[in-house]
Symmetry: C2
Subunit: 787 residues, 2 copies
């Protein structure tokens, strides 16, 4: 646990100035680099010590059996788990005859800096060996956002006071020993020795390089990793290269005087395939490295900077008055663009490529929490992630058939598209993921008006998910359309009837599919959609049953929920959270206790389905029973707290979401960062204090307001080819178009056309509300009490 | 599957006159012998061929890990499974140099007869070896109902035409190879080599004998098996005895002339313990054998007969007009008394000791289906089974604590008292087992007025289960007492709110506990029951919420059930039953489809909670959606069908329950007989056509009526020290007291005192009702169409 953030507060970078071995696993996640295809945990160059060595390639997984004490029909028997692939990060150093290892000798100074604009991780360390020899080391690492298969490291070592015999060993290592993880079911299962060597070679000379090729046993995937070097050093220097099944090594030995330095640039190439031959795969990697060398180290740095400049141009958020949040929201956006930049038909996992948490699986988090951010900041990445859903639709259709349903039933958790959930009440039963995908599609279409995507990807995704809902629900004898036995976002309720969130999201899915089919009637006919079928979706949407408790005047989370006994929060010790690790599901499911926003999330995503009064009442009701045992919850609570007028509370929840990883609020950042929660920081700011909503029809809406403590909030977003800037301060709101044609929006419900000329509008006066209460012991940390 | 019963129809025995190797596993279950402590499957004496070799000792189990693809808090990590112990049944024969094996040579004749009055299994076979030598063999086997640790076999072989060299090998064999069972989750997990040899010895001489002692590795139990022999043969005969870790063998070699025979009596003794030392355990077995030898073979036969005569005196059921049912009901009662006779603080498993089905576990079947029969036929056995529940109450209390509840939460499935269910929605969530135990207690107390049991066993069982219910349920804002998130008898619904059966049974449990606490106030105080606590039970019982659908005028099985879509029975192929093996739980739980009687069982066990009209409407409603995928269902449907007036249908269901094993209706008799379904045949006759009910207050009630086809039904039952005989025929009903003082009863609601003088009363005229319909394809086999 990082009790106090060990990272200095700076607006555009994250700096660690002291290496705490107790926090090493967390810092590996926080300092991870990725481009969505390759992921490198922030392990030290020399490999040891580590929390969890980690090098990942998106979707490169191994099967793992899913056992059951009592099996049931259709329980998936095989799961998928991300594996630690060939580690190309390793550069070991010998100082005279002593290995550089920060656990021995003396660290004179240490800094690591993640540069959010440069896209690099820089490490500076001055170390004195046990025998008293001092070296000054700098390494800079990047995973290229422009050259998908490439990572690179610049490594430089200088003797401080004396001539030293230095040996660098730059390596590729497969099948690293991986520590056994905790018994927490949320941590990943570990596979020891997941890779089988297929080929290896090393080439000496001016361009010392090596390639290792490995395969996975059960999933039958093949990967190649290659390295190539440019070395600079003193005259007295020798190099050699060698390779083995699980290791390749470049050795550089040199006698280096104090005024001299020994340095190398290491170019890494990675590739994997389920189909390509070994030679083809090797060529792919060798080619990628050749291209990277042509670009050169400085060229890679420049490309990285250019890519990120373009990203920040339409994505930056400025927070004046809270430097921690300022840093955190940029840190979050950086990890999100890292996770999504180059996925290209592959998923964005819950932890990105920063750790093995949740087995490297992708959940609804992507569509519901991450894609909204990408849609408004880097829409190509959102499109890519949805193209992956389309790419695995055949498996979702087979899954639907297995379940006795029509259309496509997307998996609750997966890497390659197959359902991998081993506990169906909190897995397969969470059908809302299908409507979440549909919602991400409609939001993307609204934000981009991408007609090619609409025809090719959007239409089939909407059609097949609508078919699913039509077969999952049924009309009752009163003509209402009901959906029984499903699990909503709140996993402390499972397999319930008419989950409000699910019904509302399904309603949107059905209606949106019917609408798009009307627009694209030719393409729809190719998907065998008839007018009758589309009408049946429209009918189901119109007839959707929306549970409402007329006595309490709130929406029950599902049928009967408001009659349940409340959880006994007073009797629940603080260390018994998260509850699922300390109480049986049986008790959680039958009580009024909410793990994460459910009705409240419905109010964010389907705002027009609730009156203002209902939003206020529902928020207060669920606030009192929501324990936030999921990192997905606080950002949603922040958005609705802001909407209904609890601005201080919204601020507290914003901080909880934003600082999730920087302060390790859930004690599991070591397994990877919480991509969705990081996205939630943006959502809390833009959707919460910015009040940004993109209604199904009508103009983009803003209802800005600021909590005490934030002096000015300014954010940029991309929308239909424009870049919009909204700047909220205590005198009002400045709207400005940074790029593109004038745009119709609404400001607190009033129409407004924004242009390249700044316009300042007033914020309507707030009506103070009595603050709602949280469960005993679950009051969020106050943002005002932070000094 | 036994498509046509291979057993001849005889009133007092079951005879197999042809050995079909395809049916060998089923016949091993059907011909199993047991006394509730020792169980011997009907394996052939010579061991080969077999379906499943089986020798069991009640509660001798091994642990087995329960794995989970995704673990959850409190999921049991270790289960228990019955193991095949040292096999003492084996007597192999060599005819000249050829082993007697019915798969080779020619079986000239074969019969096996289970004698329901004698308590023996007799086999007669005349076999000609491949080389043409013919022998005539008879074996008679018994498991003593009077000497708990003893089984015995009389084995006799005669050459038919010529002098033959015969060798008998009488053995004890541990760790027999056991065939791998099917993937059906209901079949038992198999453990290979579950026993570790601890000691063995063999003694030659006049009294050749041997003992093997083994232990189990994980459950740390120890067992001893011993054998001793009395041998009769020709002058030229030699014997020897030897023993090894996993085997002991008596060899008898003799030259036998045609007019001579070679015979032996094999006395078997078994004992096991978790505590006793090895010498003590050996002495226990040796002593048991010595006592049995003193009694002698003829003595054991006589004791067996005497025990059963006494049983049948108060238990026999005569069915005139249907010889199959006549045989089946006696066969069922025989297996029930075998399962329950000598359990003595051990449970009665779902399969008795006849196979490894359900891992040898005990469920609610015992209390709900088996104990009612024993209560009215051999009440000591019912008391024993409930004493076992009391004996494991410490584990049930710990389980309640784990679940966050008060009192005792008895396990859904267990051998030794620990919860062993690996899928909690159809395991731990089935809390009704606690009320089922309480109901068995109150029925036993009503039937026996056993005050010692009431004080020592009944009171604590009722108190701790009442405490469970009080903590499991809660008062809602309207003052109703609700029980959420539990699973009722119907396992095609799980984790539902206010299951009608559960609420009604809990109501009875709470009220009965409060009443008994009032009577036994001193003993109750020792259990820390205060007047306030008892009052809170009474309140909860009075306030119990009983769901009712005013629109349909039926009781929903649970909240919301009647709004669910009906299962699409027309689209369900015949070979897709049982549904749980062909459809996901997710679909089963959300549709109106019932695996087994649930509301209908509530109407049987809590008759006064329903009006006659409600019973009729409920029965018809649930009949249309009940698929009878559980062997526990038809007997209950028979009882209520008879009560509401569907006599033909009741007859059909009676037959389905009664012939479950003799006709292998569920294709799994090979794993053991269905003790509860066999009990259901008695219940269908006595509770159905006899209309017998024992109300919570008031006199024992009968409402006899007969279906067309049964000419006369006569049954005997024990009640408060009496033996009552009820004889139903087409002229009326004859009531007669066979033993004890006059008894107040009711006949179709009218009071009557029955005495030693027969009294004949009229059966009120029936009002014909339109027959209800069953799900498509699930109409029961008509009993009228059987010719």
């Amino acid at each position: 646990m990082i009790s106090n953030a060990p990272y200095g507060v700076e607006p555009w970078c994250l700096t660690e100035s002291h290496l705490d071995l107790n926090l090493i696993a967390q810092s590996e996640s926080v300092f991870a680099l990725s481009n969505g295809h390759i992921g490198l945990r922030g392990n030290l160059d020399e490999g040891d010590p580590h929390g969890l060595p980690g090098t990942y390639l998106n979707s490169l997984f191994e099967d793992r059996p899913l056992p059951y004490a009592e099996a049931g029909y259709g329980f998936p028997e095989m799961g998928q788990t991300v594996i630690n692939v060939t580690n190309g990060k390793i550069i070991r150093l010998l100082v005279n005859d002593e290995p550089f290892d920060i656990r021995y000798g003396t660290v004179q100074s240490h800094t690591r800096t993640l540069d959010l604009r440069g896209g690099t991780l820089t490490r500076n360390v001055v170390w004195t060996s046990p025998a008293g020899h001092t070296v000054d080391i700098q390494s800079v690492r990047l995973v290229s956002l422009t050259q998908r298969a490439v990572a690179a490291i610049s490594y430089r070592v200088k003797p401080v006071d004396e001539t030293l015999r230095l040996v660098l060993m730059s390596e590729l290592v497969a099948n690293e020993e991986v520590p056994r993880q905790s018994a927490d079911p949320r941590a990943a299962a570990i596979l020891s020795k997941p890779l089988t060597g297929e080929e290896h070679y090393a080439v000496d000379g001016d361009n010392p390089r090596a390639v290792l090729v490995h395969g996975t046993e059960s999933s039958k995937l093949r990967l190649a990793a290659g390295m190539s070097h440019a070395i600079h050093g003193p005259a007295k220097m020798s190099t050699s290269t060698e390779s083995f099944d699980d290791m390749a090594r470049l050795l550089v030995a040199a006698e280096v005087a104090p005024e001299e330095e020994l340095s190398l640039i290491k170019y890494l190439g990675y590739g994997w395939s389920s189909q390509r031959t070994r030679p083809a795969l090797i060529d792919q990697v060798v080619g990628a490295i050749a291209a990277a060398k042509l670009t050169g180290w400085d060229g890679l740095l420049a490309e990285q900077r250019q890519f990120l400049d373009e990203f920040w141009e339409g994505a930056d958020v400025e927070v004046d008055g809270d430097v921690e949040i300022q840093q955190a929201v940029r840190f979050g956006l950086f990890h999100i663009i890292q996770a999504g930049a180059r996925t290209e038909n592959r998923p964005i996992p819950a932890k990105g490529l920063t750790g093995t948490g949740y087995d490297g699986h992708t959940f609804w988090d992507t569509e519901t929490f991450v894609l909204p951010v990408l849609t408004y900041t880097w829409p190509e990445a959102a499109a890519d992630a949805l193209r992956w859903r389309y790419a695995v639709m055949d498996k979702a259709k087979s899954h639907a058939v297995e379940l006795g349903l029509d259309g496509a039933a997307f998996p609750w958790r997966t890497i390659r598209g197959q359902e991998c959930s081993g506990y169906w009440p909190a897995g397969t039963a969470a059908f809302h993921i299908n409507a979440d995908i549909a919602n991400a599609v409609t939001k993307y279409l609204d934000a981009t008006q991408d007609e090619k995507f609409e025809r090719e990807i959007g239409l089939p995704l909407l059609v097949e998910t609508a078919r699913l809902w039509r077969s999952l629900g049924q009309h009752d004898s009163h003509g209402k359309f009901r959906i029984e036995g499903v699990t909503g976002p709140d996993e402390y309720s499972a397999v319930k009837d008419n989950n409000l969130y699910t019904n509302l999201m399904a309603q949107h899915n059905l209606a949106a599919a019917a609408e798009l089919v009307e627009k694209l009637d030719k393409e729809a006919r190719e998907l065998d959609v008839t007018a009758e079928e589309a009408a049946s979706w429209r009918d189901a949407a119109n007839d959707m049953y929306i549970p409402y408790d007329h006595h309490l005047k709130v929406h029950p989370q599902h049928d009967g929920f408001t009659s349940y006994a409340r959880w006994d929060f007073k009797a629940t010790p603080e260390d018994h959270y998260p509850l699922l690790l300390h109480y049986p599901y049986f008790q959680l499911y039958r009580k009024q206790v909410v793990k994460q926003a459910d009705v409240v999330l419905a109010m964010q995503l389907r705002p027009s389905s609730f009156t203002d009064e209902q939003k206020r009442r529902n928020f207060d009701y669920y606030e009192a029973i929501t324990v936030r045992d999921s990192s997905l919850s606080p950002c949603t609570q922040a958005v609705i707290a802001a909407e209904v007028g609890h601005l201080d509370l919204a601020y507290d929840y914003l901080a909880e979401a934003a600082l999730m990883d920087l302060q390790d609020r859930e004690h599991n950042t070591k397994d990877g960062v919480h991509i969705a929660s990081l996205a939630g920081a943006w959502t809390a700011l833009v959707g919460g204090f910015g009040g940004m909503r993109a209604p199904s029809s009508g103009a983009l809406a803003f209802s800005p307001k600021l909590p005490p403590g934030i002096i000015c909030l300014s954010f940029r977003m991309r929308y239909r080819g424009r870049i919009v800037q909204v700047k909220i301060h205590d005198h009002g709101v400045d709207y400005l178009l940074l790029a593109g044609d004038p745009l119709e929006i609404t400001h607190h419900g009033e129409p407004l056309t924004i242009t390249g000329e700044p316009q300042t509008l007033e914020i309507p006066p707030a009506h103070p509300l009595p603050p709602p209460s949280q469960p005993f012991g679950r009051v969020p940390q106050s943002r005002h009490g932070r000094e």
